[in-house]
């Protein structure tokens, strides 16, 4: 299964590198949303809860774009038939798609977080960085797990990008709650970020639940 998953992942990353469909769009989108927030809130610099909320909403919306495109190459080029004909575990498809989405999210954040720090963040980014990176990584695992599951669920429906978005957003609300709560003290200029640890545990539990859940049910998707 590992080999199959890695093969599909390599294929996805190769396609992404050649076509550049998802990641540049997600990155561009997140920068645009940050600009929109500047005008919508009419604020030049943000800190605390507002900064944390703006950053996470931006990242979540960018993730929505990635989820919508996750099975695009299979759908448009008919690659799914080949994958389904191969004698491999269906779960390998989920693992590959989740890892691909995780990679996209990490790349987008490498772009969007510095841009956010330059454009909108009031306090200095550097002291907040270790905590922020931990939060981002844990949240990304959860988002990738949910995103891959939701993308597969919506893949067979007629209005798939709509359904994927509407499924994705409520499902990631707990992750958003935990991630914004974990990030808030980091952006408030507080030196001791107590409370962050508890929220990181929540994020890890969230990711774990959806990983287990997806592994459990994914076999029933993408059949025949």
């Amino acid at each position: 299964m590992t080999r199959a998953a890695l093969a599909i992942l390599r294929k996805d990353l190769l396609v992404e590198r050649r076509t550049r469909e998802s990641v540049p769009a997600m990155a561009l989108f997140s920068v645009t949303v940050l600009v929109l927030f500047h005008f919508a809130l009419d604020r030049d610099s943000l800190d605390g809860a507002l900064a944390s909320g703006v950053l996470w909403v931006t990242l979540l919306l960018a993730a929505v774009l990635g989820v919508g495109r996750l099975f695009a190459s299979e759908r448009e080029e008919g690659g799914m038939d080949g994958i389904l004909l191969a004698p491999i575990d269906r779960t390998a498809v989920w693992v590959a798609k989740a890892l691909a989405l995780l990679a996209y999210l990490v790349v987008v954040e490498v772009v969007a977080v510095p841009v956010f720090a330059v454009l909108l963040l009031g306090p200095d980014l550097m002291p907040a960085l270790p905590g922020l990176v931990a939060t981002l990584v844990l949240a990304d695992v959860g988002l990738a797990a949910v995103g891959a599951l939701v993308a597969a669920l919506a893949a067979e429906s007629r209005a798939r990008e709509l359904v994927a978005t509407l499924l994705f957003l409520p499902l990631v609300v707990p992750a958003a709650v935990a991630a914004t709560a974990a990030t808030e003290p980091l952006f408030a200029g507080a030196q001791t970020a107590d409370g962050t640890g508890r929220w990181l545990i929540f994020l890890a539990a969230y990711a774990l639940l959806f990983v287990l859940l997806s592994v459990g049910v994914f076999d029933y998707l993408l059949e025949d």
Partner: protein
């Protein structure tokens, strides 16, 4: 062959009695709440309704898992009807919650009340279920995908409550912490009876819709069978040449043939 309507009348009668008793206890037996006064009566409606709706969502997840395991489409139907009913009752939960918030805090919506906020998130998720289900055309796949959704969302419900509850400050009226601690005996008894009545009401409505849905599915299969027969005149028709009243002779044969037909889905 599953028959869903069995015992429906008995259940409905028991439900009617239980709802009557519960209403009587709420308005005649339970003491007035010291803090909130008469408004607290909404508690006996809102909380059981919310708990029953949530239990329905979780149960639908279990039924979805059973469908995926067994491949029996009856479990998919049960899961679908449970989600449908819970979503509709969910509207009631949100509206009664809003009314209660307005009555006791003066606002129609209070974000600091984590239970209701968590319920809204669950409701928004389940509102997508029909959209997902009915945008998939192949019946077997439709049931399977819907069941996967039911399982995932059912597991999401407790997680969501855990996280949202710990996120919001607990500015709750005492009665809201439904464990019953600090509730006078009469209030607790009234609450428990309301809970039972609401669960029975849910069961009755669930069975009712299940029966109707199942009957309409069977009718559709029967009609498809008849159309196929009509299109192919070489197939001998049951009851051919029989006199009037062949409906009695013909119907069992025809439905028997429909039952023998391969079941839809997988």
């Amino acid at each position: 062959m599953a028959v869903f309507g069995r015992g429906l009348v008995t259940l409905a009668l028991i439900t009617a009695a239980a709802v009557g008793i519960a209403l009587g206890m709420v308005f005649l037996y339970a003491p007035l709440d010291a803090d909130q006064g008469f408004v607290q009566k909404i508690f006996y409606l809102h909380v059981p309704l919310a708990l029953v709706a949530l239990a329905g969502f979780v149960a639908a997840g279990v039924m979805g898992a059973l469908h995926l395991r067994s491949g029996d489409s009856a479990w998919d139907l049960r899961s679908y009807v449970a989600i449908h009913l819970s979503t509709i009752l969910g509207v009631g939960v949100l509206v009664t919650g809003a009314i209660w918030a307005r009555a006791s805090w003066g606002h129609w919506w209070v974000w600091s009340e984590p239970t209701l906020v968590a319920f809204l998130i669950v409701f928004l998720l389940y509102a997508v279920y029909p959209m997902l289900r009915f945008s998939i055309e192949d019946p077997g796949r439709q049931g399977r995908y819907a069941s996967v959704f039911a399982v995932a969302a059912g597991a999401f419900v407790p997680l969501n409550f855990a996280i949202v509850r710990s996120a919001e400050s607990l500015t709750h009226p005492q009665v809201f912490s439904t464990t019953g601690s600090g509730m006078p005996g009469e209030m607790l008894a009234t609450f428990l009876v309301s809970m039972v009545a609401m669960a029975l009401l849910y069961a009755t409505l669930w069975k009712l819709e299940l029966t109707a849905k199942h009957a309409s599915d069977q009718l559709r299969r029967l009609r498809r069978r008849a159309e196929r027969r009509a299109a192919d005149p070489l197939v001998p028709r049951p009851g051919g040449g029989a006199s009037a009243g062949s409906s009695r002779a013909g119907a069992p044969t025809l439905s028997g043939a429909a039952y023998a037909a391969p079941r839809g889905g997988d």
